[in-house]
């Protein structure tokens, strides 16, 4: 399934050289992000003790969507739909369904837990430093894999806008991103993420509407107006475009879909937003709005794929011979092939950069907090000062940034596939410990640790199995163990992984000593049906000696 990506294109998308207006658009956008961040930076807090105005659920939803939607959603999904036809729909279905699980089982419950980082939950719930260490390491691994794909997308956009080589593009935009995050964190967080969302969705829809309009294909709702175009592709060009399971098996489709659902519920940089939602209602509605804002983009990606395929067939050649790079730039390529003016194509490309920037910043921060808070402070040096933590965090961002930039120069797979791998990793290793941790009070420390090791075997093992042969020439073939790759594909390890991990947790928990009573009370309080007062955390209620609500 995983093919090395060849960086070549014959469409002329990259032939335009340096483009002044798109370059200025991008520069203005970056300046706007920095300006908003500078303006909203926290120089001093007027009242940190009395709750004041908080972020509303719509704004929270936009922040969730901006954090969650990356270059993979913006460029990658349209790319896989065009490249693999029906198979690409697994991304659309999986990535949106995940929100429902999040909404029903995790969002409000995480709000009740109310700590700081995702590994905090594992460390506290499973009363285990080792558990915390594994969760923190997994968080670093997820960020690591995920950011490689972002670097790939950013590089392609820089290649179009600045007319530089792909490698220069990756280094250029990644350096800006890493500098932006290492120096100043996420700069005015929620405000900035809201901006990033508005910019990326406007850019995305502008390109879609303009293409549909100029080609006479769609008017006000391109999301549902591309039917005749996709029928045309299916009947006249290539049956595979809408034929299910032509390019991949039924098993593979379901496995991918399940992995993306579980992954959405296990991503550390998204879950931490729920810790800080004003209240449970806000956490829930934030999730619903997040889904609405995500759908605005996702419903458009399939339309892009249909339009792009048709334009490619008309202007370039057989769409079935499209290269990986062409597919990965399909959203921008569509606008380009529709002969939209350069400034408009530039805006579409800048939107992709906004999508990449928002997610990359969130991932870097989840990595730096896992290193500074969970590993350095909680496990190594209990009394580390704030400045020491900041230094550890910054060094993590710089170190991780250097490695991912290097690997993004030679990406191992299509953008959506690489992001799929990091989702599968999150879904296989973290989702089961979160889910059972919140809903089953008898899950024990030993169970969780054993479960996460099993998860790493499936989640990370499958990635190594398929990626290593690309980098180590001594290993021949597509995978180290081809049979393992067939049953547990790197992008889709959760279908096998999640049940295996859950079973491990349950079986080991039954044979080990029950968790301490205070942990059980905490878990009961987290999923109790009785509403909690706005400011309480589950821990307060549980330790105040009050009767847990459902006892």
């Amino acid at each position: 399934m995983i093919e090395p990506v060849l960086l070549e294109s014959t469409t002329g998308l990259f032939d335009g050289g340096f483009k002044l207006i798109p370059a200025l658009t991008l520069a203005a956008m970056l300046a706007l992000f920095l300006g908003v961040g500078w303006f909203f930076r926290v120089a001093s807090v007027d009242d940190m003790w009395v709750a004041g105005r908080s972020i509303g659920s719509i704004e929270n939803g936009m922040a969730i969507a901006a954090n969650w939607m990356s270059v993979a959603a913006y460029l990658g999904v349209a790319s896989t739909v065009a490249f693999l036809g029906y198979f690409g729909l697994a991304y659309v279905v999986g990535w949106t369904t995940g929100y429902f699980i999040l909404l029903i089982f995790l969002a409000a419950q995480f709000r009740r837990f109310g700590k700081y980082t995702a590994p905090d939950f594992v460390g506290d719930r499973y009363y285990s430093d080792l558990g915390r260490a594994i969760a923190a390491t997994t968080t670093l691994l997820i960020a690591f894999v995920y950011i490689i794909a972002q670097g790939n997308g950013l590089g392609l956009m820089a290649q179009y806008i600045f007319g530089v080589s792909y490698e220069v593009g990756v280094v250029l935009l990644m350096t800006i991103t890493i500098g932006y995050v290492a120096l100043s964190g996420m700069l005015g967080a929620t405000k900035n993420m809201t901006f990033q969302y508005i910019i990326l969705i406007s850019a995305f829809l502008l390109g879609l509407y303009a293409t549909g309009w100029t080609q006479g294909w769609s008017t006000v709702l391109p999301f549902i107006e591309y039917g005749s175009q996709s029928t045309e592709i299916a009947t006249e060009i290539d049956r595979q475009f809408t034929e299910p399971f032509q390019d991949a098996t039924y098993y593979h489709w379901v496995a991918l879909c399940v992995s993306l659902i579980a992954g959405t519920c296990g991503l550390p940089h998204v879950l931490v937003r729920f810790y800080t939602a004003d209240n449970e209602r806000n956490a829930r509605w934030g999730t619903v709005w997040g889904l609405v804002f995500t759908l605005l983009l996702f419903l458009g990606t399939t339309a892009y794929a249909a339009y792009g395929t048709l334009l490619y067939q008309e202007n370039v050649g057989e769409y079935t011979e499209m290269t990986g790079t062409e597919a990965d730039t399909l959203v921008v390529l569509t606008a380009h092939l529709a002969e939209l003016p350069d400034w408009l194509v530039g805006i579409v490309a800048a939107g992709a950069v906004a999508a990449g920037l928002a997610t990359t910043a969130g991932l870097f921060i989840s990595a730096s907090s896992a290193a500074a808070h969970d590993i350095y402070t909680n496990l190594y040096k209990e009394d580390a000062s704030q400045r020491e933590q900041m230094i550890v965090g910054r060094l993590t961002i710089l170190g991780l940034g250097a490695v991912v930039t290097y690997l993004a120069l030679n990406p191992p797979a299509l953008i959506a596939e690489v992001v799929g791998m990091s989702f599968a990793l999150a879904g296989t290793v973290l989702f089961p410990v979160f889910f059972l941790g919140l809903w089953w009070e008898d899950a024990t420390r030993e169970g969780a640790i054993a479960g996460m090791f099993v998860g790493l075997f499936f989640g990370f093992g499958s990635i190594v199995n398929e990626i290593l042969p690309q980098y180590v020439s001594a290993i021949s073939g597509d995978a180290i163990v081809p049979a393992f790759a067939t049953v547990v594909p790197a992008t889709s390890s959760s279908l096998v992984g999640v049940p295996a991990v859950m079973l491990t947790i349950i079986v080991v928990s039954m044979f080990t000593e029950d968790p301490p009573e205070d942990v059980k009370r905490l878990v009961r309080q987290c999923h109790s049906p009785k509403p909690m007062k706005k400011m309480d955390s589950a821990e307060d209620v549980a330790t105040d000696g009050a009767t847990p609500a459902d006892d």
């Binding site: 807090v45 009395v50 700081y116 964190g185 937003r273 730096s368």
Partner: protein, 153 residues
Amino acid sequence: MYDTILIPTDGSDVAENAIDHAIDLAEQYDATLHALYVVDTAAIDIGLGTEQVQRITEGKFSEMSELKARATEATNVVAERAGDDLEVVQSIEAGQPHTVISQYADDNDVDLVVMGSAGRGGVRRAILGSVAERTLRTTRSPVLVVDVREDDD
């Protein structure tokens, strides 16, 4: 001369190195001692997550029990060392340390700020900066900087 003395502390050895100087001066002048812990929002952003900065600005610091405990512990050290004879006011605020220290000094008519410094130089200073140095440049109050380095170097 000095009726109100401010000692900012982050609980580190560097900061606590200055406490004895502040206490001695406070005893001389019978001054009130203010122990201030600044929750550094930039450090929280990188080290704990951006959402947590949001939480502080929304006034929910009381929820963040671990951070509160750490801050209280740092200001308690000052109160303990000062003993019963001196009046010690303990405060916790959040923001950029030097901005908050300077603002706190203005708001509370502070006559002298006593703070520690790691005495970093060269490249390390350029990268890490120095809260003491930035405070010097921001505040109009007199500042006594106690260098943590021993004389024998």
